[in-house]
């Protein structure tokens, strides 16, 4: 008598296509072993990963659900959420009209590890496994170029290794870095991304060792989640005001899981100050909000949910309808359903832009 109940509305799925810019496949360190040299495998076994946070096997903040995942996403056959392709197909890829989903692996990837060389070796392994373990088995799953972002030159080398490979959609960074992302130590990443024709995806979280808030460590997970808006504002401002987009005029940055309601007022605020402080940043040729509008894309999940629906629509208009892309965050607990997450009042054309067409254009997908 127990039944599977969630059948999407077929009238909708018949005409909708979805390109998801944020899916989190799960691998184990054993999955990466074939791609690690004996030297680094032994290192991992002996010393372990050394992220810059205090909990070796846990998160700085307790997640809302185990492994921050939907409780119904644990595969019936065992294993961690999003580790089993067949179950992922059943629960997500085939249940919805998913054309492509961009994988943003979060762990284990070595990103943010204190050992730069180990971080670089893990990035190579994580990228190889995305190809062999996922993309080769389901070509809808596009890979991210995981880079050891605290080491600009090592990151450049890894991006160059993947340049021209259409299975990679973007370069993956996390938002909590050791220094603000506009600093020159990170510029090799942007130069290499442009050289390879890849956007840079900036996904929230990361373990930089710095407090989640710029005034210290908050008490609650709800603060950890809320604070992404302020962290990302600082990162976006840094990228613009340091002149990264004058150095790399073709750089495109995708903000992932950061929300977006904070973005238009950030542009207004920077513009206001720029009018009086231009002399401090003479390398900027245009108003900061111009760079914001031209070089940044946002993803939907988790969208701010305004009490008055029109307010969200206004905000999306200010961000720019051609720069908003759907993200599900599958299998995480704050997953967005492609057929239900967007505001019901969204007109068909805009809905199609957000669900697939903007991503198709940005990532040059057929």
């Amino acid at each position: 008598m127990n039944i599977e109940l969630r059948e999407p509305d077929v009238r909708q799925t018949a005409r909708l296509k979805v390109i998801d810019v944020d899916l989190h496949p799960k691998s184990s360190v054993e999955d990466l072993k074939p791609y690690l040299s004996k030297r680094w495998w032994d290192h991992l076994q002996t010393f372990g990963a050394r992220t810059r946070q205090g909990f070796l096997k846990g998160f700085p903040y307790p997640k809302s659900q185990p492994l921050a995942s939907r409780r119904d996403s644990w595969p019936p056959g065992g294993g961690l959420p999003a580790s089993d392709l067949d179950f992922m197909r059943q629960q997500y890829l085939d249940l919805y009209p998913i054309e492509y989903a961009i994988m943003n692996p979060l762990s284990p990837t070595g990103q943010g590890d204190q050992n730069d060389e180990f971080s670089a070796a893990m990035a190579v392994a994580a990228n190889e496994f995305q190809l062999d373990g996922w993309n080769a088995r389901d070509p809808r799953l596009l890979a991210s170029v995981v880079v050891p972002y605290e080491d600009g030159e090592a990151s450049r080398a890894e991006i160059r290794r993947r340049a021209g490979d259409k299975r990679f959609a973007h370069v993956l960074l996390k938002s909590r870095t050791n220094e603000l992302l506009g600093k020159r130590r990170y510029w090799p990443i942007y130069e290499a991304a442009v050289e390879a024709g890849l956007p840079v995806g900036l996904h929230v979280f990361g373990t930089s060792g710095r407090p989640a808030s710029n005034t210290g460590w908050p008490s609650f997970y709800i603060e950890d989640m809320t604070e992404h808006a302020s962290c990302c504002q600082a990162q976006v401002a840094s990228l613009i005001l340091e002149g990264v987009f004058e150095r790399c005029p073709d750089l495109k940055v995708v903000m992932i899981e950061a929300g977006f309601a904070w973005m238009p007022p950030l542009g207004w605020r920077m513009d206001k100050h720029w009018k009086t402080l231009k002399a401090e940043v003479p390398h900027l040729k245009r108003a900061p909000s111009d760079y914001l509008r031209q070089h940044f894309w946002v993803s939907t999940q988790p969208m701010e949910e305004a009490e008055e629906p029109d307010h969200l629509m206004d905000t999306m208009t200010w961000v720019g309808w051609d720069h908003i892309m759907f993200a599900s965050d599958y299998p995480h607990w704050d997953f967005d359903d492609p057929l239900l997450a967007l505001p019901p009042s969204l007109a068909d054309k805009r809905r199609a832009m957000v669900l697939s067409e903007n991503a198709r254009a940005l990532y040059r997908l057929d």
Partner: protein, 137 residues
């Protein structure tokens, strides 16, 4: 609304729940200490299936630092975004006045009464000596 026999009382012991289908609708039936409650298995927020969620209690706080945990197992938490609903009323914890999950009336009837009709148990036999859970939907 018609009554549908969805389970034998023994099928849903206290503290457990069961996902059933009534006229194509997925309904989750809970047993809270012998009282039965039926909720639509679809979270009104984004559609998560409540039958996959955990049952938890009610934590309330009058002032910071003062916490009271009560009603163990009487709240169901959506497996997706964690929205909590009072199983006894269907009301959400975050916005009880405006947001609730649909609730269906449930009764426990003796098999002797049911075999006379008008209720129908489509998927299993009803025995005179047992008691059954009937959902009105």
């Amino acid at each position: 609304m018609a009554g549908h026999v969805v389970a034998s009382v023994d099928d849903i012991p206290p503290g457990t729940r069961k996902l059933v289908e009534v006229n194509g609708r997925a309904i989750v039936v809970f047993n809270l200490g012998g009282d039965f409650f039926a909720l639509n298995n679809r979270c009104p927020h984004r559609g998560g299936g409540l039958a996959d969620g955990i049952q938890t209690g009610l934590v309330v706080s009058k002032v910071p630092g003062d916490y009271c945990y009560s009603r163990l197992g009487e709240m169901v938490k959506c497996p997706w975004h964690g929205w909590e609903f009072d199983i006894r009323t269907g009301k959400s914890w975050c916005d009880p006045a405006r947001l609730r999950v649909r609730q269906y009336p449930v009764t426990v009837r003796p098999g002797a009464e049911l075999v006379e009709g008008p209720h129908v148990a489509e998927t299993f036999p009803v025995r005179v000596e047992n008691n059954y859970v009937v959902v009105e939907a």
